[in-house]
Symmetry: D2
Subunit: 433 residues, 4 copies
């Protein structure tokens, strides 16, 4: 570990305690490092703008920061336990390259606003990725829905067979949910799109920092004005970002639950490609839908991370070291959630419904609701129709599933999926990213 | 309890089990009842639009529904355990008033989409209220910030005195956070502003329901197209609504923590009106800031409700009776959160900072950062300035808190709170409610 | 609401704030009231023991407290919003009955230790009930396991058919889990079995209270010695109590999930009595396993209550008004959990396996593991056996499910359920309640 | 990654999916590896006992397993991504060393019971460590309590100064809580002390495994009888283990909150050694109690891990791949909790109360309760005493803190801490570990 910048006297350093306090902070900073570097360049330019740095100095610093970014991305520079954290690593690099000039990068800022701005940039990028993945998922679902509007399948409530449904309607359901999820990712990205750089340790500084410049240079939608609020928003914005991911994973879990049932021998509705399954170490006869189960089991990671942040934030205003503990759950949950969102479109694209099995699962009683509705539409009180229709089973047995699908014409239902509306929302989103 | 509408045969009804299954559902429906009635009128008009009801029939039904709403609001009609739930109560009323015509209100809909649409309307209204309360809080904070820009107070990090701050900056911090919370309430209201009415039990119906009409009549921003998704969104939209309330209560908790400390004898920074405090049953000398503590203790209720919903939703697609259990945590948390948001502006308006106590808490060392920054701005590497300044304590002791405030000119800091930017965001919100 | 006992001056009482602060506290105290009364009698006797009350005075007070308990249990005394809380109600009653003597019940105690001791007694009683219900459930499971050792059913991993299992083994699994749950209830009851009465508001009093006497009189296993710890244990002991209930409900959820699948048309393994099911308001053909779904959906209530307490307790030592908010989640969760535990044995007793459906679900491949194990036992490396056995399907098709059950002789498996060990543990528990 | 043992055909292996499915499983298995090896030796001996292996074969296998353990502990064998998981690594090692004989270790067991038994051993060991650390903490607290019974400090309720307390009582509070935590660790270790080895994949095997032998050899208190329950207990036992750690960390959080306040300039009650604090990167005047804040911020990690497990376990009976996701939160939380418990005793031992600051914080009004109690003991109704005493402030000002401490004689209070009872409980625990 590098020398501690605040180490003033002969304080006995207890390594064990230091390690506890450091945690895996510097390793976690790998997820933030390029953002930290980018924000450092903006800060340097801001200092130049108010005359704290001369133009040439700023350029030297910016060049050295770019060089570090390149070295880091190429693997030539490794961020590890040699450094207290990513911020220290940057200062060490600059000082080595530029001597006293390097030290001046820290003028007018604190590690507190450094970590805030780097996290903010990372959160925003993550949400953009989420939006893109939700759009991709929605598009695939829309396509598959369009292709399978006439493939009948049982519709369930309470896991009991209820009425005739279609795989098209099932795919369209996930299309619409991921469209909503994409909009939420966008809205959340906008909500957190505020620049905390220039708020220092929560009270600003006695320099007329050019925060407008850094806000523009980092592409933020607005300045986060108040320094105390900048500190208080740590965790707050992270929770809302996780909430957006959680909504997407909530639907992944729903879908994975469906697939977990649909791939049982008992349902037998869906087959998955081999690469989504594994065998058993003891039972030679098994192929297990492990991928689906792991997708289902991902949601709790994000749920727990949200909870961990919510629970941590029972604090007075301002920075407290407790907040260091926001990093591990945040980064962990984002890693899991991103992996899920990368894989999920493949699942949607690859799953195959077995049409014969679906057909066999359609029973006469599943036409009963349709029949009751016909009677009701003809003027019979629905409750009376409801009671009457159970006498007509032989009649119902003659009905065709396909006829039922076509007759289900309420907007959004099997007979009128209204995929056009969903496609149009995707266009609206693309027009307002 | 009324007769069960689905009771077909001589099934033995075990009252104990029935009570467990009913829970407090009908009582909870009180929060949804007027919304259910409003949606029922829209449904009736939709049925008329497609010819299922004649114009006169629809009018009769709508009139009877309005009458029930008036009776309910006047207390003349009580929704209680006589009914299985609010939906049954409506049908019972209509049947009593209009005979067979009354029964026809249920044509083309299910209790599933009834509860969805009523909940959706209630969630939307709650979010509008939240937005309004956040705006009100933000306005009060802005006003108090404007009035107290020159009142110095210690600024803390790690609960340690750090630099000179101001009560103006403290109020402005909460102004900005509640502006963000207001935007989030608005965005969330828009996100959930989708009409599920007309999706029946999750598969639509074999009637060309006029969903465009009901969407417009209920003022929804869009139709929730897919019936399966309508079911799958139950809980999903509730979680996001709670997330918006939670963000507001997160800041209330922060503020309450500050006030809990500021009202100790040791800090002594803030006095609260008597009506916010209570005495002790055993200690005659005490006045306790109970209100502040209860505001602090409200967040976990919303946090837990979100968790309860998240945990409940580990289910395959479609309706399951488990979902009945989404109601109690949702309604409970909203009730608590609303009460908090109603009271909180009063706290902001009434708390009094004790300027003498604040002044006494300003120590010379709290000017050290300012001094280090001055040296750094003059070209000294910040780390060197940092080390040098600790030698200059006698010098620092001569500094005035007010000078420090004025010199802190980075945008947003004590010397330049930029309340104009915050006020402008409130205007933007008012223009796009 | 009664007069506030601490109301010293002309403090303006804001009703709205008072209502917020009171919450539903007095209503919730109904669950604690008889325990509060019982502890009050013990306190009175303790005061007599150290001469603060004369014997006759103590008797008068104890009689009046008994009278109140009887009136309360008979419904003649109603605990409602007329009182600030249950404690105030007791004092009001005593004062009305006994004048100044009545007021002396509060000597040497605080509402803080009153609520602690009443809660502790209630928690202990709840855990005893839980233990009893777990034992009852385990006994039923054992009985049904014993009766159905030879009823073959598919055994699943990953919800995929794996090997031949038996309904006997399925019932025995829940027998063992509820035996463990019963032990946990007992251990938890012992862990919290400590008397906080006599610790006042967290610092004791300047009276030599006879805490040994009250500890014995209230049947506590030990004295909770330290007054600060008595306060700090509020919530702590509640969490652990909920953890014990949560363990039981975790297994209820598992079982309910099984039944939810087993009652689908696709599995078709289990039929439930009509009283556990309900119909649909729109689909005449349905009978839904609502009870099972509501049992499954109960766990999150307890989980959320635990979380709410955990989150609330981020506080310094001593009493804070936040702790009032521990009551609603605790009492709510216990109510739900108790209802579930009352109903669950009925489910175990009443569910019927359909043996024909189970038999049809046994496939030849489900004998593959047995065969591989035979080869391995004969000396073939298991991995080789594993690869070989998939070639022998026609052979496996000839095997009988019952033979497989009988051959599965590893202790605890179908061929040797070892119900004797489980029965013996129940006896051990009965001997050490 | 090694060859997959279940890889039967030319299934296309998608590396990306494989990596997602593997997660960091093999790395996490490092925490379980020595336990897995130990259980493997027991399994081998069990196979010998029923004649599946010859004595010589068993010895060869056991020796090779011991060798692997030594190599692993010496760092000569590294468990990493070359292996699918720890179980595969063991089999690979044995096969390389012993050829076909090595493969036979897997006879009669499954990775499912392997991971269960290894986890169980690890959980038990963790709980033993926890018990030991709680005892150590309690002893230190007892010692410090004994040394400081006459050091007066303010006692707080609602963070308001209430009555005179002592640092001795404060230390004794944590002594008692950690005694309770130690008992809980012991009870929990006993509760989970059940051997799952020999239950295979959840259905046992067709071999008369000598489970009594493996139970004895691994030192388990009992056999976990039922194979389905063995699977269903995965997560269940982990939650309860975490609950025991959480109780300890709950008290650490309380204590850390106290210290966070006590180390402010405003309270100024406690000084911490330099090694517990750090400086600020921007504020030269600061020493921050970072360690205390990180101890406070540790609880949410355990809370979140419990929640993650609770949420994951919404599943039907038997093994599902979702359960792989129980490992990361469990191991992460245990790591954090263990680190906290290792450091916490040092904090208790090292913190220094500043007696002068404590003394200055004692105010006359803090004697009011004592005085009221005196009047009440003399026969005045407490409520009247309560009202009267506020008139006597000048009188109260003459009281000495020390007199107040000595007069507080209710058992457990400052004047009679009853450390003897606490010490005796520690002895009882030592006698029943």
């Amino acid at each position: 570990m590098a020398d501690f910048i605040w180490q003033k006297n002969d304080a006995e350093i207890d390594r064990r305690i230091m390690e506890f306090m450091a945690g895996e902070d510097v390793i976690l900073d790998r997820s933030l490092f390029v953002h930290d570097l980018r924000a450092s360049v903006a800060h340097v330019n801001g200092l130049a703008s108010i005359g704290i740095l001369k133009g040439g100095e700023a350029r030297q610093l910016a060049d050295a920061l770019d060089e570090l970014r390149e070295a880091y991305e190429a693997g030539a520079f490794v961020l590890d336990e040699r450094f207290e954290d990513g911020h220290s690593a940057i200062e060490a690099w600059l000082t080595e390259k530029l001597g006293d000039l390097g030290k001046r990068v820290h003028t007018g800022r604190s590690r507190n606003d450094q970590v805030l701005v780097a996290s903010r940039l990372m959160l925003r990028e993550s949400l953009h990725d989420l939006q893109e993945q939700c759009v991709q998922t929605a598009r695939l679902c829309l396509q598959r829905a369009g292709e399978s509007q006439t493939v009948a399948m049982p519709g369930y409530t309470h896991l009991q067979r209820a009425v005739v449904s279609s795989t098209g309607m099932w795919f369209a359901a996930f299309a619409e949910s991921f469209i909503d999820n994409a909009f939420l990712a966008r809205d959340t990205a906008r909500w957190i799109d505020a620049n905390p750089l220039g708020t220092a340790a929560g009270f600003g500084v006695n320099l007329p920092l050019d925060r407008a410049l850094t806000t523009a240079e980092l592409g933020f939608g607005r300045m986060q004005v108040n320094p105390i609020y900048a500190q208080n928003s740590r965790g707050k914005f992270e929770i809302q970002t996780l909430a957006a991911f959680a909504q997407a994973l909530l639907d992944v879990r729903r879908c994975a639950w469906d697939l977990s049932l649909f791939t049982t021998s008992e349902f037998g509705f869906v087959s998955l490609p081999d690469r989504f399954t594994t065998g058993s170490s003891i039972m030679p006869n098994k192929r297990n839908p492990d991928l689906v189960e792991l997708l289902r089991g991902a949601y709790p990671s994000v749920e727990a991370a949200m909870l961990e942040l919510q629970s941590l934030l029972s604090l007075p205003s301002g920075y407290h070291r407790d907040l260091q503990n926001t990093k591990p759950p945040l980064l962990r949950a984002l890693k899991t959630a991103k992996a899920v969102m990368q894989i999920f479109p493949d699942v949607i694209a690859s799953l195959q419904f077995r049409e014969d099995a679906l057909r066999k699962a359609i029973e006469p009683a599943m036409h009963a609701t349709d029949r009751a509705m016909e009677l009701a539409a003809a003027g019979l009180p629905f409750r009376d129709a409801y009671r009457m229709v159970m006498q007509e089973m032989p009649e119902l047995a003659k009905r065709e599933a396909l006829d039922s699908l076509e007759a289900r014409v309420s907007p959004g239902a099997c007979g009128d999926l209204r995929l056009d509306i969903l496609a149009k929302r995707l266009e609206q989103l693309a027009a307002n990213p």
